[in-house]
Amino acid sequence: MNEDMTVAKPLATCIPQEQSLHNVQLAHAYVPFQKLCNTFRPLDGFRKGTIFPELYDVYGWERKGREDDCDDE
């Protein structure tokens, strides 16, 4: 039995939105801190290369098809 059969949370809620950034510095990166949300089922995560949906497809490969077709950029 899967103890934590939680209902999948909507992806949009998975990335904590910074309310406001104070004294933002030049040449500094601001990366939202990941909070565990949903995970792919193990075989899907294995195929996709990550178990975290919010980290998958960051570069939109799925939409552009699998091959490395950079010409349509």
């Binding site: 103890e3 059969m5 565990l36 089922r41 193990p42 075989l43 899907d44 995560g45 178990i51």
Partner: protein
């Protein structure tokens, strides 16, 4: 009883899941949900690894051995026929 390929595939899949959670836990050591998920998957993978090794011999040589010592037996991970393909969904478990 799963065959060798199915067992090997699900062990690899669960190990990957555990590894990704390890990376998450390295930066989120107090996330209880993540630790719970991690313990679930590690427990499952351990059970399946023991089942695999009872039937097909060692996956890693750091285990108690019967006689003869089977670590030297084929197949090896780099041998093509030892690998599985990712078709199908049968190893997609809910944790």
């Amino acid at each position: 009883m799963m065959n060798r390929d199915e067992l090997l595939k699900i062990i690899s899949v669960l190990d990957f899941y555990a590894l990704d959670l390890q990376l998450y836990l390295n930066t989120h050591p107090t996330d209880r949900d993540a630790i719970q998920k991690y313990n679930n998957v590690v427990k499952r993978a351990k059970e399946l690894r023991e089942e695999y090794e009872r039937t097909y011999g060692m996956l890693t040589p750091q285990n108690i051995s019967d006689s003869p010592w089977r670590w030297i037996e084929n197949p090896w991970p780099w041998q093509y026929k030892f690998n599985f393909d990712l078709e199908g969904d049968e190893c997609n478990v809910d944790l």
